[in-house]
């Protein structure tokens, strides 16, 4: 969409659990520096698709290619190399509850860098400050609110300056202002660091504010029915379901009244 080189290419992907196929024939490309939105109604498999992209669940068929490496056919070491370039924000934050926020953010740094304790401490404070949690280093995840957990999760996801950041429902459970701040942060990171984002969401406000590429998963036909810039989809798509989704069902409500 942005005309830049492809970072993730998904081709002929089927996903499912056992014999049950959730979605089939997914084909899309995420370009470098894109903010790519995975959208669709509840239960359409958005989170499952993300699990496949980040290496937690194997697809039933098809390929996920990062750069020129076939992710699921690569050997485990190579896959781990690719996964090191990811940052992931889980739906509930998924902070390690037995560690303080500082320890949570520090763990990836201790794993993959040769920085000393003092340098790590500085980076940790910086990342926490970036998400608005300066001074909360010594808090445990159980001592902070849901929105703060989410932001701390983001700080941890950003710890290693990843090339691709995956967000699972970033604004779920956030108040509108915090959700807006998170969107601004995403745009800021994209501009300043050139990070690629893959965001699972159904928050329309966020979709239009940040997304420049997307895929729409349709529950009924069990496949993707649209892809591309969400604003263009809104303007040009003729698929009634996609339009219905992107307008909060207002068009079909009008149609019913008329």
């Amino acid at each position: 969409m942005t005309g830049s080189e492809a970072q993730i290419t998904v081709s002929d992907l089927d996903m499912g659990y056992g014999d049950f196929i959730l979605m089939r024939d997914l084909n899309f490309t995420v370009g470098k520096g894109d903010i790519f939105i995975i959208m669709g109604g509840s239960g359409c498999g958005k989170s499952t698709l993300m699990k496949i992209l980040i290496g937690l669940k194997e697809p039933s068929r098809g390929q996920v290619v990062y750069g020129d490496v076939n992710f699921w056919e690569a050997d485990p070491q190579e896959r781990e190399q690719i996964m090191k370039r990811f940052g992931i924000l889980y739906q509930s934050g998924a902070l390690w509850s037995s560690m303080t926020l500082a320890e949570n953010v520090a763990l990836p740094l201790e794993q993959y860098t040769s920085l000393n304790r003092r340098q790590i401490g500085k980076i940790v404070s910086l990342k926490l400050a970036l998400v608005g949690l300066a001074g909360f280093e010594k808090f445990y995840p159980s001592e902070i609110s849901g929105g703060m957990k989410k932001r701390a999760g983001l700080a941890r996801a950003m710890a290693l300056d990843p090339e691709i950041l995956f967000f699972d429902e970033p604004s779920a459970g956030l108040d509108p202002v915090s959700a807006r701040l998170l969107d601004d942060l995403i745009l800021e990171l994209k501009e300043s660091l050139g990070t690629t984002f893959v965001v699972v969401t159904h928050e329309l406000a966020s979709i239009f504010a940040i997304g420049n590429n997307s895929v729409y998963l349709d529950v009924d036909t069990r496949t993707m029915t649209a892809s591309g810039d969400p604003r263009k989809l809104l303007a040009e798509s003729s698929d009634p379901k996609v339009r219905n989704f992107l307008t909060r069902g207002e068009e079909s409500a009008h149609a019913q009244v008329l």
Binding site: I54, G55, L56, E80, M83, K84, F86, I88, Y90, Q91, S92, A94, L95, W96, S97, S98, L107, P108, Q111, Y112, R156
Partner: protein, 383 residues
């Protein structure tokens, strides 16, 4: 009661036939869940019987109150009407009820969404269970293998876990287990001595209570009691910790970071128990002998020094080593059972409960089986 209900019901519904093909259902009185309201069967029978019937209308001018129970009645009637191809005119209903009825039928039922409640045939169920047993055994063996690899990595000094975690687990499974281990072992020693004393007193051989308690505690009872206590205490807690981490996606977060949960979570727990269990076992042995001593001194009037000397004479170092070895094995078993069930845990609150239960059951069964195997092996080897 039945007749009274029938009377009430008749008061609330009356039917009219203004034309041959029209049925008017008049609903009066209060239709809330607190009142006894008639159910739809009283109407559906009449709807089905009239073959010329085309239209159903409502008259609710006498209705004084309604809530969801009124709506369920309407929904059933409307379903029945669409089955019989009768047209249902909702104009006579209260405005709110009309709109809610429309809302309830706005989104059609998703095909295939309703859970199939078909009963599985006996053979298919048995076969399914057998397959699940096979799969779960394979999973347990996988886990055992991964744990062994993680341990090998630890021996090479390359394992990836936090020392502070290990220290915490050492404290939790060590010193904090003292009170319960003291109490249980002391009482087990007391009980052994009581049971033995009654038998031995008939031969006038009370002093051999010391031998009995000493050998039994040191060789097996100390280890078994410690094992069972730790399975219930620490094994269960490990399963609940890891299960909750599974629910919170914390284990996913470790995996995607490339940190092995086996090394980071399971290994320190296993190490803590393997180090602490033999120490607890020694402590349990001492407490058990103390329990025997109490019975010996206060019930059998033995001299404490004589009792302890008799115990010392009865015990050999081999007994002690066997007890310690057994207990170290239990440490591995308890830690692995707890961690295995925790890692296998599903993603719900009840799954955490099941994981905890299953960890304790697996732990205790494995402890008893391992005791039997070790005892038999010692017997065969003549130790």
């Amino acid at each position: 009661m039945e007749s009274m209900r029938g009377g009430l019901t008749k008061d609330k519904i009356s039917l009219g036939n203004p034309a041959d093909d029209v049925l008017v259902i008049s609903l009066t009185g209060s239709w809330t869940s607190e009142d006894q309201s008639p159910d739809e069967h009283e109407i559906t029978g009449i709807l089905g019987s009239g073959s010329r019937l085309r239209t159903v209308r409502f008259d609710t001018s006498g209705l004084t109150g309604w809530d969801s129970s009124f709506l369920t009645f309407l929904v059933e009637i409307s379903k029945y009407c669409s089955q019989l191809n009768l047209s249902l005119e909702t104009d006579g209903l209260p405005e709110g009820a009309k709109r809610l009825l429309k809302l309830a039928s706005a989104v059609p039922e998703r095909q295939g969404a309703r859970k199939d409640s078909r009963k599985e045939p006996f053979f298919s169920r048995t076969g399914g269970r057998a397959l699940r047993v096979a799969a779960s055994s394979a999973e347990a063996l996988d886990f055992l293998g991964e744990a062994a690899i993680a341990f090998a990595t630890f021996l090479r000094g390359r394992a990836n876990f936090r020392m502070s975690d290990l220290a915490l687990f050492l404290q939790e499974s060590g010193s904090q287990a003292f009170p319960i281990v003291s109490l249980i072992s002391l009482l087990v020693g007391l009980i052994l001595a009581f049971v033995g004393a009654v038998q031995l007193a008939t031969f006038g051989a009370q002093i051999y209570v010391a031998d009995l308690v000493g050998v039994a505690m040191v060789r097996v009872m100390g280890a078994v009691m410690t094992g069972i206590i730790m399975a219930g205490r620490t094994g269960a807690s490990y399963a609940a910790q890891l299960g909750t981490m599974q629910v919170n996606e914390e284990i996913d977060a470790l995996k995607t970071l490339g940190v092995s949960p086996m090394e980071f979570l399971v290994l320190p727990r296993m190490l803590a128990l393997v180090v602490m269990m033999p120490l607890l076992c020694v402590y349990a042995d001492v407490m058990g002998i103390l329990g025997g001593l109490i019975v010996g001194v206060f019930m059998l009037d033995l001299n404490p020094i004589v009792y302890l000397n008799q115990t010392k004479g009865a015990l050999s170092l081999t007994n002690v080593w066997i007890g310690l070895f057994t207990c170290a094995v239990f440490g591995v078993i308890v830690a692995l059972a707890g961690c295995l069930r925790g890692i296998q845990c599903g993603r719900s609150a009840s799954a955490v409960g099941e994981a905890t239960t299953s960890a304790v059951v697996t732990g205790i069964i494995s402890i008893i089986v391992a005791t039997a195997i070790i005892t038999m092996a010692c017997n065969v080897l003549g130790i």
